[in-house]
């Protein structure tokens, strides 16, 4: 190395090295992203698309000026790979890295910020230089609740996903505790996988898959067969499942704004029956999906003729009442109350609506409000024995609560007085 090279700023040397020896990692082979490995990784696997990736990095402009560094923030940078969250150069570059690897990337503007630049630090048409260290990566948590983790083996094409109600054709293999219990090719409507012994987690995951995608899904019990298990396959209650799914093709269901009123009313009838079937089988999550469709189609619909209006309201009322029942079973009481409110908005003396709202409120310990609802039920239908007994339950609970509060507060003041005296 000549003395000239030694005195050049480090950035320039690196950039020059990249331009000369860097590997072109772009799919189009247009030298848009060049890479040199500074320190190889210590494991063999590369992160998959959709994985949550942890990196440290330093970014410099072509003139050597640093514009960003994750170490200055004392925190690794986290993002989902291959999803367009970051500039193209990164989605391409990080996907080639192994855990523990440090590499340099030289990125042309077409793979970075292009002609728009990025105010205030990146000018227009800027070539960027990055040093990136891949710290860790793990599967994508689809609903950010640990319920479904996905690792994509092969990326799908196109960019649309099946929506709820879409018809999908998939190949599926199910594993529990390492043994395979299911393997089939099946065509069904998203949200109705249950009809084919497919757990709700698959329905949910499909809405995030692309055509041709092949992935592995790790389902927690809530998204699996739940408490019921699946005796047919020998699956115990609350088992964790692993599925390998290939989405071969799908046809989207129409968006709400694409259907006209007539279509919506026709579909509402079909969907209502489906929902009721699921409900009777105790499949409340699936029932919620079906009834929910009625709400999303008809709730904001306007310009209806009188006849259509009547039909629409009747569907909406049934949907809200049934949704309330489902939410009660699912123990989501606030949502149950919301649905009852909406049902009562359409029919203020609806016996079922009042009763179910009372139930929900009772379970949320809002005894006074619950009692009020049950009393209204009796006003509408004095013969309703259940309401009568619920009212006495409310009264009993109110008394219990007051007793308990009294005991707690009495102790509390005593405790405070003791503490203050110290």
């Amino acid at each position: 190395m000549t003395t000239d090279e030694a005195t050049k700023p480090e950035g320039e040397v690196q950039a020059a090295a990249l331009a000369e020896r860097g590997e072109d990692i772009t799919p189009a082979q247009d030298r848009g992203v060049l890479k040199i490995i500074k320190r190889p990784g210590h494991e063999d696997e590369c992160p998959m698309i959709g994985d949550k990736v942890y990196v440290h990095y330093k970014g410099k402009l072509a003139n050597g000026k640093k514009f960003d560094s994750s170490r200055d923030r004392n925190e690794p940078f986290i993002f989902s790979l291959g999803k367009g969250q970051v500039i193209k150069a990164w989605d391409i570059g990080v996907a080639t890295m192994k855990k523990g690897e440090i590499c340099y990337l030289l990125c042309k503007p077409e793979y970075a910020y292009g002609s728009a630049g990025s105010a205030p630090k990146i000018p227009s048409n800027a070539t960027l230089f990055f040093e990136v260290e891949l710290l860790d990566f793990k599967g994508e948590d689809l609903f950010e609740d640990g319920g479904i983790i996905r690792r994509i083996k092969r990326k799908g094409e196109g960019y649309s996903n099946p929506n709820e109600g879409a018809t999908v054709e998939i190949h599926l293999e199910g594993f529990c505790g390492g043994t395979r219990f299911d393997c089939k090719d099946v065509k069904f409507v998203v949200g109705e996988g249950e009809d084919h012994d497919i757990p709700i987690g698959i329905d949910k995951a499909l809405e995030k898959m692309q055509r041709g995608e092949h992935c592995i899904l790790y389902l927690g019990p809530r998204y699996g067969f739940g408490e019921a298990g699946k005796p047919k396959y020998g699956i115990a209650a609350n088992a964790e499942l692993v599925y390998e799914v290939t989405l071969k093709s799908f046809e989207k269901a129409k968006e709400s704004w694409e259907m006209d009123t007539k279509e919506k009313l026709e579909q509402a009838a079909i969907v209502k029956e489906k929902g009721t079937t699921y409900f009777k089988e105790g499949k409340y999550l699936q029932a919620v999906i079906q009834y929910g469709k009625i709400v999303s189609w008809l709730e904001m619909e306007y310009g209806l003729s009188e006849k259509e209006s009547k039909a629409s309201n009747s569907f909406l009322l049934a949907a809200f009442l049934n949704l309330a029942m489902c939410y009660l079973k699912l123990r989501e009481y606030t949502k149950a109350v919301e649905c009852c409110d909406k049902a009562l908005g359409l029919d203020q003396d609806n016996e079922k609506g009042l009763y179910r709202r009372g139930e929900a409120r009772l379970l949320m310990n809002e005894f006074e409000l619950a009692k009020g609802d049950f009393q209204k039920v009796l006003e509408v239908n004095p013969q309703n024995k259940a309401a009568k007994s619920q009212i006495s339950v409310c009264q009993k609970k109110t008394k219990e609560h007051n007793e308990r509060d009294r005991r707690i507060y009495a102790n509390m003041f005593k405790k405070f007085a003791e503490r203050d005296a110290k």
Partner: protein, 590 residues
């Protein structure tokens, strides 16, 4: 005399043990002290408080004097000696009295002020409050939170100064007060930061939570409705300083970046059982939108933001905020600037249509259309239109296609529909210019789109006047297609559709035009005859605006309106004639 009474109670208490102070003694002391202050004997009271022998008495009873003290301080003029004395008394009380009781006393004072007194009181008490809070041992975090919450809830009803003049005047003192409050909070922030550095397990989580709540509240009030652009002749814009300080606090507590992305949740159904978290999320939506605005438009704290995100992802994250601001009942000037700045970061045609999968991307333009058509303020309508066009330009061809379909179906406004149809024409033009142009604006996709464009909403009975914008745009599009796309190429498929277009568009249009023209001509004839017969026309209806009845239209005015309607029909008819001419020529040539 007040001083004598005071001396009396002091002497009596001096000989008593602390435990023997009775409630009566407290009362007498307070009344006597209060009277001294009101009668102007602050100096004497100061002496009493300074007296070493009275230390125990003051420690126990002093905090009762806060209320009259504050009242007097605010009442007395700046130069008055009495005010000086009162301030000194306040200082001494802060040093001597029980921290807990003092805290309650100070907080009570803040709670009880209102209107013009709020800012003055708060600014007066911030320093003493801070000293007292540092003295508190247990429950310091809770007390800090309570103080900040109390102060902010007192400030919130005050109007936020908006114009340059209002800001400079700062009549109610809000600008000054806000900055004083954020300075007040800083030592607590420093404490949190120090604790964070000591151990990654933050013991002072509670204090951090309280400060976070304060920042979120500030983002909503006053920052959401404040004027935040640089103003000339104001070197230090108080709200810009305030905003910068809040961002600084968030950054130091390492919450800035996590907050920026906390609102970005996947749009699919989520099974949330934490219903409280849900409610809080709704409340914080406004604050997070403001935070995004501060970062991206005003560029506060942008140095800390990672420079690796793709512009489309940033747009996606901001769409949530834009949706929130569009739906919010508080009108915020930030909304359009935020949307515009996010869009300007993108290159044209770079936004993939997949983003339309996110419901925000379709509901935001629909809401923008509502602003464009319903907002009473003209420059906002114009700006919304510009932003809508910017938004359209960023999408790739399929995205534009889907967006056009959606807006045509949902906007319910002839002007907007006309505007979209013009956009479609521009896209077809681009597609025809390029060899192997986009498949979305030629061929069968275009045909399905044209189905929506080349029709009369109610057939021959369509109100042509109401829909004239849309009809003219459709006719112009059709004329363009006939001229540009030769029937041999038929790239757009328009020639194949010709029969259908004639059936569902051109023929009913003819009928409609004839009917409308006949109708209006008859009306004109009637009016002219009526005018001859009687001067007073019977008004069928009257219009009242703001309680004032508008003068009835004279017959002349009515005739003018009818004539201009006829003119519009003529215009439509002439373009229609030209189109049919073109059809005839081309068909003959074949």
């Amino acid at each position: 005399m007040a001083v004598d009474e005071l001396q009396a109670i002091i002497q009596r208490c001096q000989i008593l043990e602390e435990a023997d102070f009775r409630g009566e003694d407290f009362n007498l002391f307070q009344v006597a002290g209060q009277k001294c202050l009101e009668d102007g004997y602050a100096a004497q009271l100061l002496e009493v408080v300074q007296n070493e022998k009275n230390k125990v008495i003051i420690k126990n009873m002093g905090w009762n004097l806060i209320c009259p003290l504050v009242r007097c301080i605010l009442m007395y003029k700046q130069e008055d000696d009495n005010r000086e004395h009162c301030l000194k008394i306040l200082d001494l009380l802060v040093q001597l009295c029980n921290a807990k009781e003092l805290f309650l006393g100070l907080l009570e004072q803040i709670e009880q002020t209102s209107g013009e007194q709020v800012c003055k009181t708060v600014m007066l008490l911030l320093q003493p409050l801070q000293t007292v809070l540092f003295k508190l041992q247990n429950k310091k975090a809770y007390s800090v939170g309570l103080s900040l919450a109390m102060i902010m809830s007192q400030l919130t009803p005050l109007p936020v100064p908006y114009t340059k003049q209002q800001i400079q005047e700062d009549k109610l003192g809000l600008c000054q007060c806000c900055n004083a409050v954020v300075d007040f909070a800083k030592p607590f922030v420093n404490e949190v930061v120090k604790n964070m550095e000591k151990s990654s397990e933050c013991n002072d989580k509670e204090l951090k939570e309280e400060l976070l709540k304060f920042c979120m509240k500030s983002l909503k009030y006053p920052l959401l409705t404040a004027q935040l652009d640089q103003l000339e002749s104001i070197e230090e814009h108080p709200f810009r300083r305030f905003a910068a300080e809040i961002i600084d606090i968030l950054w130091n507590m390492r919450e800035l970046i996590p907050l920026m992305f906390s609102h970005h949740k996947d749009r699919s159904q989520s099974w949330e059982n934490e219903e409280f978290a849900d409610i809080e999320r709704k409340n914080s939506a406004d604050s997070l939108a403001c935070l995004s605005y501060l970062m991206f438009v005003q560029q506060f704290g942008i140095d800390c933001f990672p420079v690796v995100f793709s512009p489309s992802y940033l747009l996606q994250c901001n769409m949530v905020h834009i949706e929130v601001l569009l739906k919010s009942s508080i009108f915020s000037p930030l909304l359009q600037d935020l949307f515009e700045s996010a869009l300007l970061r993108m290159e044209d045609n770079s936004l993939l249509h997949q983003y339309l999968e996110f419901s925000d991307f379709l509901t935001v333009p629909q809401n923008l259309v509502k602003v464009m058509t319903l907002c009473p303020i003209e420059h906002l309508r114009k700006k919304s239109l510009n932003i809508l066009q910017l938004f359209i330009n960023k999408f790739d061809a399929e995205g534009k296609y889907t967006l056009f379909r959606c807006l045509l179906k949902t906007s319910n406004h002839a002007g907007v529909e006309g505007y979209i149809i013009k956009n479609i024409k521009d896209q077809i033009h681009l597609a025809l210019m390029k060899v192997g142009g986009s498949s979305w604006f030629t061929g069968h996709h275009l045909i399905s789109l044209l189905d929506l464009v080349l029709l009369l909403p109610d057939g021959a009975e369509t109100d042509l006047l109401q829909n004239s914008d849309r009809i003219m745009a459709s006719l112009n599009l059709l004329r363009y297609l006939m001229i540009k796309d030769s029937e041999y190429d038929n790239q757009t498929g328009v020639w194949t559709m010709l029969a259908k277009i004639e059936q569902s568009f051109l023929k009913p249009l003819h009928v409609g035009l004839n009917m409308s023209k006949a109708h209006y001509e008859a009306e004109i004839k009637n009016k002219k005859e009526n005018r001859r017969d009687s001067n007073n026309s019977n008004t069928v209806c009257s219009v009242t605006v703001s309680g004032e009845k508008m003068p009835a239209m004279t017959t002349e005015m009515q005739l003018q309106v009818l004539r201009s309607a006829l003119f519009t029909f003529d215009l439509i008819e002439s373009v229609l004639a030209r189109v049919e001419e073109l059809i005839e020529v081309k068909i003959k040539a074949v």
